[in-house]
């Protein structure tokens, strides 16, 4: 105990001496000694490093270059001992960076060797990796050399996530892809080489994530351009609905009707959303209601310098203009625009591995990814089977996989709907746990979600502005937030769900044309006076089934 007290006294004395010296503007060797003492015990005492930097800067001005070199080299030695004690100290690494940059005659090779030593002890020490990147930059080590460095590291040990990461930053510098559409990350020749390298890695150790994540990145492609994906106009509602490729603010939207800019107020489909992929506006009454008139609409998204035209012809009560999901390769666009032959060959390789390693989740996920890139509808059966296996081999994440599978099934249904050129979206008995891509369903008039595992129709459901009929029997729905201000909705069937209170049905009151509602098999039907309560809540519903 006396030892500790003594230590404390020494510490406090040294610390106070340091501060008073600093306060007095003293920058001498003794100050260096004192700070050294303290920093050896506590390398994260940031103020002391700052003081030390002041001392060194000052000494630089009073010593010649050789002496300064010696002082800084001594500093580097001191830092090495600090780093030996704590290789993850922010203070130490930051200071070393500072010193290296100021050294009159830096020895970058030595710095790289230090990094090598440090990484050989812990190849995931990101402080060291970050420092190495700085050294490389300062000493203009050619990217090619660094790439060879990663070759060596990966060659000796495929399981080196940090090396793969570094590689991902180096490659695009050395072998850039083309910026013109289709945009690609790397030039094709290099890409094929990388595929080979990473395949070696995951064939050697299929359980190591590093290679799989890297592979996914290689296969992936950049975000596509932002655009207006659909513009829809309805004479009856005198309303325009616009769908975008991603959620936006309404700030930069401009509507032009027959050459005249219109002063309209844009609103999102549900008060929850300030940011939404779908926006609606109402036209002044009488503007387009006469069916004998033709009108031309343009929606401008001024921020992105893009627009969409839509012509509303005589005799037509509605009109729209859109790019289909197929046109946009919307769902395939997870992956790059590699030649089909390349993707086929990749799929073949990974399938081979899967035969050897049937329980490997990375393999299964990658196969699913490649199948979706090649032919989502054609591979639907296999994809579902692989998801089943995936949920068994990685049961910890089975809920996530169910969600992912739901997403893919919805994508397939959208594709089928578009091929058939109908406005009916039907996906029943598919174990759907979640709804998504609802922004793609702006034009749908009939939706069938029966016999799934849905728990709610979320606020995003309100994007289905053309909906006339909803069938969602045999789910576990307890929340109808998204059945909100749907102007054309006439029929809703919710047999055998979990709607339990009248409050749950509140959103339906916002749908003016609702006339038929089937609530059989829901707990709410047991509520006292349910018929009269509903008559009050939903007066337009003439056909109520309880």
């Amino acid at each position: 105990r006396k030892e500790r007290e003594k230590k404390l006294k020494v510490y406090v004395a040294a610390r106070d001496a340091c501060f008073s010296k600093r306060k007095d503007g003293v920058f001498d060797d003794e100050a260096l000694q004192l700070t050294q003492q303290l920093l050896s015990a506590n390398p994260d005492f940031a103020t002391l490093w700052n003081y030390r930097r002041e001392i060194l800067t000052h000494l630089e001005t009073v010593k010649d270059e050789d002496e300064a070199q010696k002082i800084y080299e001594a500093e580097l030695s001191f830092l090495e001992s600090c780093l030996k004690v704590n290789p993850k100290s922010y203070g130490s690494w930051h200071h070393r960076g500072w010193v290296s940059a100021r050294l009159p005659r830096p020895d970058w090779a030595r710095e790289l060797r230090l990094c090598d030593r440090c990484l050989s002890l812990d190849d995931r020490n990101f402080h060291c990796w970050d420092y190495r990147r700085m050294v490389v930059k300062m000493s203009s080590v050619p990217v090619k050399q660094e790439l060879e460095f990663t070759d060596r590291l990966i060659g000796s040990n495929f399981s080196n996530y940090s090396s793969w990461h570094y590689r991902s930053t180096l490659l695009p510098l050395l072998h850039p892809g083309s910026p013109e559409p289709p945009p690609s990350r790397l030039c094709e020749e290099q890409l094929l080489k990388e595929y080979e390298l990473v395949q070696n890695a995951f064939f050697t150790d299929p359980n190591d994530q590093s290679a799989w994540f890297y592979y996914r990145w290689l296969l992936g492609r950049a975000e596509r351009e932002e655009m207006i994906s659909c513009a829809y106009v309805s004479r009856e509602q005198e309303r325009v609905a616009v769908a975008f490729s991603r959620p936006v603010n309404s700030g930069s939207l401009l509507l032009v009707l027959d050459g005249q800019p219109q002063r309209v107020e844009w609103r999102s489909v549900h008060p929850h959303f300030k940011h939404s992929p779908v926006w609606i506006c109402d036209l002044p009454p009488g503007t387009i209601s006469d069916i004998a008139n033709e009108h031309n609409l343009t929606v401008h998204w001024t921020e992105k310098h893009t627009h969409r035209d839509c012509a509303l012809y005589t005799g037509r009560s509605e009109s729209w203009c859109r790019d289909t999901a197929t046109d946009l390769e919307l769902f395939r666009s997870e992956l790059s625009v590699e030649k089909t032959s390349v993707l086929q060959s990749e799929l073949q390789s990974v399938n081979q591995l899967q035969e050897l390693e049937p329980l490997n989740k990375w393999c299964l996920l990658t196969i699913i990814l490649l199948m979706r890139a090649l032919d989502p509808l054609g591979y639907e059966k296999e994809t579902l089977a692989h998801f089943q296996t995936l949920k068994e081999v990685d049961s910890m994440r089975s809920a996530y996989y169910s969600d992912l599978c739901s997403k893919f099934m919805i994508e397939n249904t959208i594709l089928k709907m578009e091929y058939a050129e109908v406005r009916v979206f039907s996906i029943s008995d598919r174990n759907l746990t979640t709804l998504c891509h609802l922004d793609q369903l702006l034009l749908v008039t009939h939706i069938n979600l029966s016999s799934n595992q849905l728990r709610r129709l979320p606020p995003q459901f309100a994007m289905l502005q053309c909906l006339e009929v909803v069938e969602a029997d045999n789910n576990s729905i307890e929340n109808l937030e998204g059945v909100y201000h749907l102007p054309k909705l006439e029929e809703v069937s919710l047999k055998n769900n979990k709607i339990s209170t009248l409050a749950d049905l509140q959103p339906l009151a916002s749908c003016p044309k609702l006339r038929r509602l089937d609530l059989r098999g829901n707990p709410v039907t047991q509520t006292a006076n349910v018929e009269s309560e509903l008559a009050e809540l939903l007066p337009s519903v003439a056909d109520l089934l309880l």
Partner: protein, 367 residues
């Protein structure tokens, strides 16, 4: 779902030793062993772990709030008479610089005294947890002190003298602005650009551009964007889905912070809270997560360690509790995933902010 019901049944198997953890934090508030000496400069953050930990345990009554509040305020860098040190505002980690004890202004000018952004963040949180009304926080100084820490690329230093700069301090800054309900302390657009620039090839966030993805920095990125209210603006739905995927894959039993690293208790919060903010926490396996966290519980001394059979420390003890709270462990208060304080403390903040708005409103009225 039937799966969840089974998970709740198995909760009873490993017991959670609440009292031990209360005592662990109490001891943390008293004396720490020598090996903690290096944390002296960040003492206020240790205090935060203990206080927030006790809050999560619903055991704040063991704390002498008044004493604590005074100590915290004594770490505030008070403006001098002529306000020349305004841009050094904020809270210190501790008294290690040697400024004479004072909780009321004017302050003493000291060339090396300044706030530290992480200490300001944990200081404000701690005051809220203790029920303080922040009336003695000099907002002008705190925000001025914060503003000078932001650099061209949008990231922040920790102290005005300079230090490393990265995404951690953006999170601290965003939390400070959020709590004080005043975003003049930072350029949010620049911060968002830095955050976006930190998105790595594998769809998670590094400390900065070109740096390796990490669960802790991903939390800082997502939580900052949520606090700023700009999550959907800054990241596309596709990017968000990919980030969700990277994060979901971090669960091994508990969570790790990076691929191929061992699981560590604190990531049950860092990654767990990120998943919660991204609305997909319900897809994680609660029972495996719980089993891991409890395997790092120290049955003798209380607290949690990063790994089983390791020494517990305040950070892991606190974040272990937060991890358990996220999965709904009974008897633990719920935690606000972005601000990292209990919902109870958050509600106190909301009430304070409402009062500030009302007062501001009534001032305008009088004009």
């Amino acid at each position: 779902m039937a799966e969840e019901e089974n998970q709740f049944e198995e909760f009873e198997q490993i017991d959670f030793l609440k009292d031990r953890h209360v005592r662990f934090f109490q001891r943390t508030l008293q004396v720490l062993p020598e090996r903690y000496a290096s944390l002296e400069t960040t003492r206020l953050s240790i205090l935060f772990f203990a206080l927030s930990g006790l809050d999560v345990l619903d055991a704040l009554e063991v704390v002498d709030s008044k004493v604590m509040i005074e100590w915290i305020y004594s770490q505030q860098v008070l403006p001098t008479q002529d306000k020349s040190n305004l841009n050094r505002g904020g809270f210190r980690g501790s008294a290690h610089i040697g400024i004479p004890y004072s909780t009321k202004g004017p302050g003493v000018l000291h060339p090396y005294d300044s706030g530290h952004v992480a200490m300001t963040y944990t200081g404000l949180c701690s005051l809220l947890i203790l029920g303080d009304d922040l009336s003695r926080v000099n907002k002008e100084a705190v925000l001025a002190g914060l503003k000078v820490l932001q650099i061209e690329d949008g990231s922040f230093y920790a102290v005005p003298e300079g230090s490393e700069n990265d995404i951690r301090f953006i999170y601290c800054a965003a939390s400070i602005c959020y709590m004080l309900d005043d975003w003049s302390g930072m350029d949010t657009q620049k911060a968002i650009e830095y955050i976006r620039g930190s998105l790595s090839y594998d769809n998670a966030f590094g400390q900065g551009a070109g740096r390796e993805s990490h669960g802790g920095w991903t939390y800082c990125a997502i939580a900052s964007l949520c606090l700023m209210g700009r999550l959907d603006e800054a990241l596309s739905p596709r990017e968000l889905n990919r980030i969700r995927r990277w994060c979901i894959m971090r669960q091994q039993s508990g969570f790790h912070g990076r691929p191929n690293k061992p699981v560590d208790t604190c990531y049950s919060f860092w990654v767990g809270a990120t998943l919660e903010l991204l609305d997909v926490f319900q897809f994680t396996h609660f029972e495996k997560n719980r089993s891991f966290i409890l395997s790092t519980q120290d049955r003798l001394v209380g607290g949690f360690a990063k790994w089983p059979d390791s020494h517990p420390d305040p950070l892991h003890a606190y974040l272990g509790l937060c991890g358990l709270s996220l999965i709904g462990e009974p008897d633990l208060r719920k935690v606000h995933p972005a601000l990292n304080i209990t919902q109870r403390a958050f509600q106190h903040l909301q009430q304070l902010q409402q009062t500030w708005r009302d007062n501001a409103g009534s001032c305008v009225g009088r004009q």
